[in-house]
Amino acid sequence: MKSPLSIICELTHRCPLRCVYCSNPLELAARAQEMTTAEWASVMEQAAGLGVLHAHFTGGEPLARTDLNAIVAAARRSGLYTNLITSGLGMSEARLDNLLEAGLDHVQLSFQGRQELQADEIAGTRAHAYKLKVAEWIRARRVAFTVNLVVHRRNLDELAEMIDFCASLGPQRLEIANVQYYGWALENRTSLMPTRAQMERSVEIVEAAKRSLAEQLRIDFVLPDYYGSQPKACMGGWASQTLIIDPAGRALPCHAAGVLPGLTFDSVREKPLRWIWTDSPAMNKFRGDEWMAEPCRSCERKTVDFGGCRCQAYLLTGNASNADPVCALSPHHQLVTSIAAAEACGPPLGEAQGKSAEWVYRIFNASPAAEKAAAPYTKPSAVEACPSHSG
């Protein structure tokens, strides 16, 4: 049994942002369910004992936890490399200094775009201006700095300008990630799906930026997988390299795995982490190839992409053991191509384009349908869809 290399700690699902592509599950964990400082410290120690090297602190917004410093310090005491994945909201200069003193190695700061209005629409709150300040504080200190930019149909047309904007913030690394359709992003897929033309152009833009900015920063690019013909090697294989711990202590092989029916994910509150990783039924469910259906089982790429993403297979085909339908060899591949073709239409984000999309913003203790119903009243009207954007 290989050791996991990294542990992703969802310290809380609380977040001042309500991003329309949030990868958190639709059922967010409430504050009362969250693990204590001591429980997280124990997880850090157990993870290091299991061979984990990197600890990623995410959420929700990890800064929403007042004990973040103590958790980072516990991770460092256990010998782990520490990474804070943050929106920046909740950060102050003093807090950043304290985190660095506790041993924080790396800060990953997310941006929703380069212009305040558009970025804040995606975040569902006013956040962009504050993020700019946080970026300055990070740059002024000696800590590894990554800017994370999430791209989709609404902002891909200004990708080149967004890359210049992100580079001006001074990170050593820029991660440009297309939205992956799980959690809240799946709810908003129709408003986020890029067009094939945007996707093709974005590859050229990123390649050009990698060359022109090579001296300044490294760029990593995550492609939109609905346009692929070979699936991604999701998480490097099910329960193979990475462990995720949710706010309540449940151990998962990926962020989205909670959607899979019939699996019980054990909690670090009840079981040792080592047992969960090596022996628990859920972690072993999709290891190896015995679970695979055709065409995966006899495919020579099964050790390269592991049949793709189990969650995507379930969400799109109804069976988690099927090949990820992104694969051109999948009998369900047409599902993906037809979804992309049908949904990749509509206007890009921006005032000039008129009416904004109908977003499903993340919210606690409510189903997405309830959130839709709770949207503020606006004057009823019948607006013709613009023919040039209707696909």
């Binding site: 290399l5 090297l53 490399y81 990474n83 000696r142 590894a144 700095f145 990554t146 050593q172 690394r173």
Partner: protein, 92 residues
């Protein structure tokens, strides 16, 4: 990258040497881990404390007197590789 004798070598921000008894030495950095072999850890440990290229070579020759001239070549090649991977910074 020019490696003049007075070039100052430092570990890039966010790169950290991990040495745990019974485990191979490793360089930890954002989203990556590099395992160090041979004299790699000896070199990285010294760079972590700030060295010029000539200081580093002198110390390595003292630590590995049997290595002779190839130590200079090997060290330079190793440093170039670390620099390409943005693991070290070279100034001056």
């Amino acid at each position: 990258m020019t490696l003049v004798p007075e070039a100052k070598l430092t570990l890039a921000v966010g790169c950290r040497l991990r040495e745990v008894e019974g485990q191979p030495p490793m360089l930890l950095m954002p989203e990556a881990v590099v395992r160090l072999h041979g004299a790699g850890a000896e070199i990285v440990r010294r760079i972590g404390n700030g060295r010029t290229f000539s200081e580093l070579l002198a110390e390595l020759h003292a630590a590995f007197p049997e290595a002779g001239e190839r130590l200079d070549r090997d060290t330079e090649e190793f440093l170039r590789r670390l620099h390409e991977k943005r693991i070290i910074e070279v100034t001056g």
